[in-house]
Amino acid sequence: MSDLYAVTTAGGCHFQSHPSCGYPAPGIEEFYFKPAFRIAGFGFTKPILIMLLSAVIVLFVFYMAFRKPKMVPRGIQNVGELGILAVRDQILRPQLGSKGDRYLPFLVSLFFFIWLMNLWELIPVAQFPATSKFAFPLGLTLVVWVTYIFIGMKHQGPIGYFKNMAVPSGAPWWILPLLSPIELLSNIIVRPFTLSIRLFANMLSGHLLLLVFSIAAWYLFSATIGLLFAAVSFIVFLLVFVLEVLITLLQAFIFTTLTAFYISDALEPTH
């Protein structure tokens, strides 16, 4: 928890309660945490704890679901099958078709891991999405990047893959020297970069929005006209909260869908 909460809550700082008591606007410092302890100089912070918890929960739920699978699923196995079928039918099949089923475990774990890391944003006490720290989306993207380049080299051969990646289809030969650098750059650098920035920026802005309106509701709560504004602020906070429920799911969905799309591009050239 940052100093900002301490100032606003413990200090009892409200609208017009004190001349020097301004709105404590949340900033980028909300995304930096003091390490709880250090392991060989490496600080263990709240986002790391959230990430580890997410991984453990995903592992535990799917392990419990398929520990003793039955023909007629009961209890938690229903939940596990529902999750896997949702990823298969909504994300994998539209992009890869049934031949891509061997990538299902990868996509399922990716989807639920990201979704859970996003969801911590909405859970009281935790209330922080690990994916709003750029290192987490970047690390996930690195995994995806290595995976799709490896699959591409395996299925099209190293030279064939890079040839397909550099030569756009349908373009006349004389313009190729100008266009193939763009194609290569967008496939190798822009793609992974946008993939990580999309997730990171969405979660960061969502967290900031929630902070702005929740702190405003607290700050404006006083026996003045501010009470009215506090009520409005709280309603907006609730609306943003509902929106964020959707966005946590949507961002995990988009990340996984694009991963499936990149894999399908690596399996067979679009040309």
Binding site: P94, Q95, P168, G170, I175, L179, P181, S186, T194, F261
Partner: protein
Amino acid sequence: MPREGTGWSIVSYIVGGMLLYGGIGWLVGRWTHIEALTGVGIVLGIGLSLALIIFRFTRPSR
């Protein structure tokens, strides 16, 4: 039928074109001391990316 990733591919082409030719323009501009070349490069990059998108996605290629 276009697949779901097509829209994002188009975005990454435009960003890629801007970065590449904007970067080349910036380098040449530094060398020749003509600062406007960065802008020229960015516009040229967008134009070339649009050409690439048209070639790639509007003509039947399969």
